[in-house]
């Protein structure tokens, strides 16, 4: 059997569809979490959802359903703790993280299941996805995308300034809970492909990658979704290709692909930010004394390599700590 033959297999097709949907949904919600500086909320919900999966294993019901219920409850609880708490909010969240993970592992043991069963949920699994799961994933993705993109003006306002949004007449708490619930839903969506412990990476890393190059929220949001799709589909294919030789989980591969994309764009982002700082126009200040250097052997121009920074009605060429403005035959020090 070759790599290409893999695509004729039903479970591989299902996994690909699930990965694509996950790659779309997780970064869409992730962008709003990062905007609110709650990048780790997804991680917390993922930990809590482990208990949900374990409860499913214990009671013999579908772990996806129990995971959704517990994840949504956990997300709402975390949001309420965050809203009430001031200084100890993060400690309360940490308690919930560890409680969720420990409870999950404990209950799985009580259910008489080994760590291997849980592992498929913790790190994702290719062949665990049934066609019912795919439909379920698709439906949840549609819900997440419709809400996240359709309500983006409201969610953006709430995520960037709660006080302002409240005075503008928005129900801030409802929107905060909505974000938390959507995060819980998209985490359960991603559970099958990336796994609960790594799902938060798919919410945060694509956003971090996208904002290296983007300057606007809109571009960051859609860029993150593109990065998420590429990382999850690419990671899945990579893990399938590697699986001929070694046993690799799709989750870690997807996350590593996303991180590699971040690593590739980061230097570019650093360079872009440095350049935009350098090229910020100088303030126009009137009545500066007229100074000109004695001799200036270099002729500045469009392609002389020195940044030409706007300054009022002309440009200053920046080099070696000087700002040289062309003035007739010579340069003025600005």
């Amino acid at each position: 059997m070759t790599f290409v033959d893999l695509f004729s297999l039903g479970f591989m097709q299902r996994a690909l569809v699930a990965a694509l949907l996950t790659g779309l949904a997780a970064p869409a919600i992730g962008t709003f979490l990062v905007q609110r500086r709650l990048a780790l909320l997804g991680d917390g919900i993922g930990h809590v959802a482990v208990t949900g999966v374990a409860l499913g294993l214990l009671t013999g019901t579908s772990p996806t359903w129990t995971a959704i219920v517990v994840a949504v409850l956990g997300a709402v609880l975390m949001e309420l703790i965050r809203e009430r708490g001031h200084t100890n909010g993060d400690v309360a969240l940490a308690l919930l993280f560890y409680g969720g993970l420990a409870g999950g592992v404990l209950i799985t043991g009580i259910a008489g299941q080994g760590a291997a069963t849980l592992q498929a949920y913790l790190f994702g699994s290719l062949n665990a996805i049934s066609s019912a799961d795919v439909w379920f994933t698709a439906a949840l993705t549609v819900v997440v995308l419709v809400v996240a993109l359709g309500l983006s003006p409201q969610l953006f306002a709430v995520a960037s300034d709660q006080d302002f949004a409240r005075v503008a007449g928005l129900r801030v708490r409802t929107y905060n809970l909505l974000i938390a619930v959507l995060a819980a839903v998209s985490i359960t969506v991603a559970m099958r492909t990336v796994g609960l412990l790594l799902v938060s990476a798919l919410m945060v890393v694509p956003v971090a990658t996208s904002q290296q190059l983007a300057r606007s929220f809109k571009v960051t949001l859609f860029g993150a979704m593109a990065v998420g799709c590429f990382a999850s589909v690419g990671g899945l294919l990579l893990s399938a290709a590697l699986s001929f030789r070694v046993s690799v989980y799709p989750g870690p591969t997807i996350v590593m692909v996303a991180l590699a994309m971040f690593a590739a764009t980061w230097p570019l982002g650093v360079w872009l930010r440095r350049r935009s700082r350098l090229m910020t126009p100088f303030p126009e200040v009137t009545a500066t004394p007229h100074r000109s250097p004695v001799e200036h052997p270099h002729a500045h121009g469009d392609d002389c390599g020195h940044p030409a920074v706007p300054h009022g009605d002309h440009v200053d060429y920046v080099h070696d700590g000087h700002r040289h403005a062309p003035h007739g035959e010579h340069y003025d020090e600005h």
Partner: protein
């Protein structure tokens, strides 16, 4: 607007408690249509608490707060109010352009799941014009200076086309040229007939806009009348100011912006 319209802000015997501690006690205040009123007073005097009560961010324990004639608990016309919160940064965890931040000010007027309308775009453009940032609309907010970011926040409030603008310390940490730009923006608004309630620490170039000053001290209104500068406001109630106000990270009780060059401040130094 006709003179029969109810005043944008009316407070009658309003008390506000935070965590059971009474902060504002029996405050009466009214801001008429088209007025520009400054709230002055040292840190901890209740200026910001008053603003948060007026904007509905804090519940009041006694008295009535009326906005445009409606008790605040029944008030739903929030798009008539524009709010510029204190010291909030315009930047979030994700980059956003100036235009995007300003456009989020339309959120009170937008219907759910509807695309941006032409009216939305026009309001955003004109808000950017008023604060003088129209040429920076595609810049990332984080690329702007603190004073420019403050103007972005004012433009965001203006984009909602409010009749009443409430600003909580818009000049904090803003240098003089940018304070001038801020004052110019507020002057243009005032000329358009907006009502402005402004909490200020330093008035500076705003002085010529102001119709009335209200001085808060320890949760009470200590003065309500013709405009005062911050220095006069601070010294009018100087005798009581030493012990009972709360400091917020400023050691030595120097709550007011220090104006070392003024003769009053010089004398005050000797008294201590």
């Amino acid at each position: 607007m006709s003179t029969a319209d109810p005043a944008p802000v009316v407070l009658e015997q309003v008390s506000v408690s935070i965590g059971g501690r009474p902060i504002l006690r029996d405050v009466d205040l009214s801001v008429g249509t088209g007025d520009t009123v400054t709230l002055l007073g040292p840190n901890g005097s209740g200026k910001s608490t008053l603003v948060r009560a007026v904007t509905g961010l804090l519940p009041h324990t006694r008295g009535t707060v009326r906005l445009f004639g409606t008790p605040i608990q029944d008030f739903t016309d929030w798009q008539r109010i524009g709010f510029v919160p204190q010291r909030s940064t315009a930047t979030g965890g994700v980059p956003a352009t100036v235009r995007e931040v300003v456009a989020s000010g339309r959120v009170g007027r937008r219907k759910l799941l509807r695309p941006t309308s032409r009216a939305d775009r026009r309001a955003v453009e004109s808000a950017l014009e008023v604060v003088g940032l129209a040429d920076r609309s595609s810049y990332g907010v984080s690329q702007l200076s603190g004073g420019q970011q403050q103007r972005v926040l004012i433009a965001r409030a203006l984009a909602g086309e409010p009749e009443l603008l409430v600003l909580d310390e818009p000049t904090a940490g803003v240098d003089l040229p940018h304070q001038q730009a801020l004052a110019d923006a507020l002057g243009r608004l005032k000329a358009q007939g907006a009502t402005i309630l402004l909490v200020a620490h330093e008035i500076g170039p705003m002085m010529r806009l102001i119709d009335r000053s209200v001085v808060m001290r320890d949760g009470l209104v200590a003065y309500d009348g013709p405009p005062l500068t911050q220095e006069v406001a601070a010294h009018t109630h100087h005798a009581h100011d030493h012990d009972d106000h709360h400091d917020h990270g400023v050691p030595g009780g120097h709550d007011h912006a220090p104006h070392v060059s003024s003769p009053l401040d010089f004398e005050r130094g000797h008294h201590r």
